[in-house]
Symmetry: C2
Subunit: 207 residues, 2 copies
Amino acid sequence: MVERLVAYRRHLRRWLADGKPRIYSHELAGLAQVTSAVVRRDVMTIGYTGSPAKGYAAAGLVDRIGRVLDPPQRPGVALVGLGSLGRAVLKHFARLHPELRFVAAFDVSPEKVGRIIDGCRCHGSADLETVLRADPALVGIIAVPGEAAQDVADRLVRAGVRGILNLAPVRLQTPPTVYVEDVDLAVSLEKVVFFARPETERLEALA
Amino acid sequence: MVERLVAYRRHLRRWLADGKPRIYSHELAGLAQVTSAVVRRDVMTIGYTGSPAKGYAAAGLVDRIGRVLDPPQRPGVALVGLGSLGRAVLKHFARLHPELRFVAAFDVSPEKVGRIIDGCRCHGSADLETVLRADPALVGIIAVPGEAAQDVADRLVRAGVRGILNLAPVRLQTPPTVYVEDVDLAVSLEKVVFFARPETERLEALA
DNA sequence: GCTATATTGTGAATGAAATAACACTGTGAC
DNA sequence: GTCACAGTGTTATTTCATTCACAATATAGC
């Protein structure tokens, strides 16, 4: 449901930018590709309320979603690993996401350390603890090879990070107080390959 | 469950590489971070069977999983978009995934067209239909900016693709016969930010 | 002011996935 | 040979999210 809220907000902002102040559940549902019942239920859950004949006030709804999703203060983000994946992530968020604050990036390769890459200062991985002690991050992004991921995770956790976006193809072991979201491109692609097959073929593969 | 099967296979291969031929449900469960009951249920679902006192034969299980997950012939993959994200994807899979066949990559920028990038020939986006007619792909990966994603999706579908891994931050409109898996880094990161907050704080945000 | 209507808010029904529970079975110890 | 036991295969239970259905309601037109 959190994923849907993020999507709603994205569409609502575009909706507002088009100069339209109000929106019906079925309109938002169409944009986010869910049913109108889901939209209404989600809106109800976050405690917002619309008018039966005029729909929801888009601005107010964006605001309410923000109050649910966004932490009180702008959260710091630490990125570890500036290989192609890490760079891609940084590029995406650098401009696209002003509500996040990238506090630091880390990499092991000496030629990157000290430089500023996509607007973010790159530190040596060894300095992770030091840098994050000066400027704490709420969440960390792990974009290092699988072998190094668990070690990075341990250190991020010790540095006080409360959530991790893990792009490495391994499952991390973390204390239960730390939330981990795995984004594993290999798994996703295999999933697509599987479901791309006609259903009949999939079922007979089970037989 | 497909995601779990992919994970099982990954761990089983490492297990085999360590020279261990047999594995118990709770051992595999520990590696994949699920409960043993889930493992046994999954194994049952795909029709494999172990021995009560000796566990599962790892090799046989890998084989069975492959028969469920993998299509009969090696599936072709088409990658569209060779920005930082596309390059990262290509690099990841080029070496890591021999069971996939990258048939072609596409990009709009002229300086990339014609070159071979990470072992894959880069074509102009305009030639998408032509190239895929000569060498069809089962699935497509969309790694272009959001504005271009829907157009690319339409063309991939027309070119006969049956599944799409969508890395762009938009929901695609496709016929129901085409399976779409969305991997949206912005959404994932916002999810992490949300769940990184202490539960108490999250709940009062709803009030 | 009143009525028709389209939409919201929400309880109940449905369905799928995780969890728990347990009977069955093959193995090794004695 | 038989007895205990650790682990599998399967069924039942629970839980949770989605879908369905419909009463309540505010607006616009007359």
